[in-house]
Amino acid sequence: MMHELRIRVGPAAFRIGSAWRAPVAALERLYAAYPTPSYCDYTVRLEPARPWRRWLRPSVMISGDYMLPDAAPLPLVQGLLAAEMGMNLQMALGWRRHLLLHAGAAEKDGRALVMTGMSGSGKSTMAALLGESGWRFLSDEFALLGLEDGAVHPFPRLVSLKNEGIEALEQRVGHQRLGPRLRGTPKGDIRHLVPSHDAIQRMDEAALPRLILFPRFGEARAIRTVPPSELFMRLTQASTNYVALGEAGFAALTRFCETVPARAIDYRRGEEGLELIDQLWAQFP
C-alpha cells in the first residue's frame, strides 16, 4: 500500500503518497520540524512507471493533482528529489492565493529581499547563505506575493543545493541539517538543506518587500538599475500564475514594480555577492 506523509510549508499543505518506504523516510527526517496538517491542498504521488518497476530497476514517476504529461521518471535513490519536484509542480500549476514568483527571498529588519533570475544564477545558494548570515530565510524557489497586502509570504521548503552551492553550505551547517548527496540527477549533484529553526518556526510571518535583485554568479562585479517597466516584463516571465490570477495579478504586480527598487548584480564568488547585497540593503531604508 501507499506510504503517506503530510507536510505544511508556509501556506500550502501537501499529502505525499509513495509506493516505497524510502523516500517517505527521507522526507520524514528532513521535514521533522514542519507542522503536520490534517487538511491538504495537494496530493503528490510517487509511483512505479509500471507495476513491476516497483522492484526491478525501480524508477519513480512523479504525479499528483497537477501533472506534466511528459515528465521523465527518476531512479528510486533520487526519490527525495522526485517528491520535491512533485510539490513544486503543484504550486506552479495550482496555487491561486498569491502571485507566485520564481524567486528566492530572505528577511532582515522586518523587510524582505527578493532575488530572481534564470536557473543557475545562484539565487538558491544566495538565499541559503543569507539564511546563515543574519537573515531569515523565506524561500529559495517561490516568493509568494500577497494579492491584498503586497507582502512576501514565506515558502521555506528544503533548499535544493546544487553543485558548488553544496560545498559553500557544507562548511557552515552541521550534517544533521543536510540530506544525502544525490549524484547524477538531471540537474547535477543535489543536496538538500533544512532551513534554520527560526525560518521554520516563523513560516507564517510575511514581510513587505524592500528590494528585488537579479543576481548573476560568475561575472565581474557590477550593479545596474532595472527600470520598473523592465521589471514588470521580467516578473511576468518569472511567474507561473500571473495570467491565471487575472486582474488581481495585474494589480499586485504593478504595485510591486512601482514601489520596489530593482537592481541587477554580477559577482564572482558568494562572499562578494553577500557584500553587494549588504551595500544595497543599506541604501534603501
Binding site: Y39, C40, D41, W95, V243
Partner: protein, 353 residues
Amino acid sequence: MTPIRRLAATLRDPRLAGSFGARQWNALIAVARAERLIGALAVRLEGRGLPVEVEAVLADARRSSEQERRAALWEADCCRRALKDYHGKAVLLKGTAYVAANMDAGAGRSIGDLDILVAEKDLDEVEKALLAAGWEWVKEDAYDDQYYRRWMHELPPLIHRERDRMIDVHHTILPRTARPSPDPAAMLASAIALQPDAQQKGVRLAKFSSWHGLHVLSPADMVCHAIAHLFADGEMEGGLRNLWDIDRMLREFAGSANFWDALAVRARRHQLLSHVRRALRLSERIYGTPVDEKLRGHNSRMDNLFEARLMARDGWGRQTRPLLRLAFTIRGHAMRMPPAMLARHLWTKWRRS
C-alpha cells in the same frame, strides 16, 4: 463509500459535505481534480461554511474556472472575428458553448480547446480564414494529417501562434467511420444563434461586437452530442464529468415543453437512441437526474459495467481496474473504426514508434 462515489453523491446533494472529516476531504479533492470536476464541485459547495482549509481549496478552484471561462469566451470571440466574412453557421460545441449560452453545465466547468462545427462543404473556406487570422497547423506528420482528414470528424488541430490556444474544427460530431452516424446537416440547420445582448441567456458583449454567425446546438442536439461524446469518443476517459454535463442539461432543459419528445426524435435521427437511453439511466443512477420513464428504457446488465468504468478511481486520484479500462479502450477504438481499418491504423502507429 469510496471517494469517487462520495464525489458523485456530493455533486448530487451538497448537504452531505457538512459531515466529512479531513481524510475524506483530502481524498475527495484529489478525486475531483483527477476527474476535472473540482470547479463544478466548488460552485456546488459555495457558501456552505466548510472548514477554512477546504474553503481555500474551493475558492482556488472557482478562481481557476472563472479564468478558464474568460479565456474560452475570448477565444470564441477571436474565432468570431476571424470568421467575420464567413456566411455559414459556426456552432460552438462543448464547454465553450455551455458558458457562452450561460448554462448550468458551464458553472465551474474546465474548458480546454475551442471546438466548432461548420458545414463540411465550407471546411476549406473556414480553414483559410483561420490561417489568415494567425492560426497554424500543429506539427503533424503526413500520415496523421491524412488520417484526420479522411477518417476523423475534424480538421487536424490548429493552434494560434500568439495566444497558444487550440481550435478543433469539426464537420460532424463523430468520426465518419463510427457506427452511429449523427446527421450534422440537421444539427447545423437547427442550431441557434447566440443573442448578442441578452443578460440572462448568452454572453454579455461589448456593444461593437455582434455574434454574427456564432451559434450553439439546439437543446436536444446538445444533449445528443454530449452523449455521443461520453460513449463513442475514445475510452470514456473523464466520463464522470461528461455525465455531469448531461445531468445539468437534462435538468435545465426538462422544464421546456416537449423536450423529452424532441430528444427522442433527435436521438433516432442521429442513430444515438440506445446511447441516449443508457446515458439517461446512468445519469439517473449516479446523479439522481429526473428522466423520462419511457425514454430511459429498462436497466441492462451492461449498465453496471459502465458504472464501474466511470467509478474506476481511488482516493489518491489513481485510475483503478486496468482490465476494465482496457476493455473500454478496445471498445472505444472499435466503435470509431471498422476492424480492418483499426488494424491498419495500429500497424502504422507501431511501425513508426
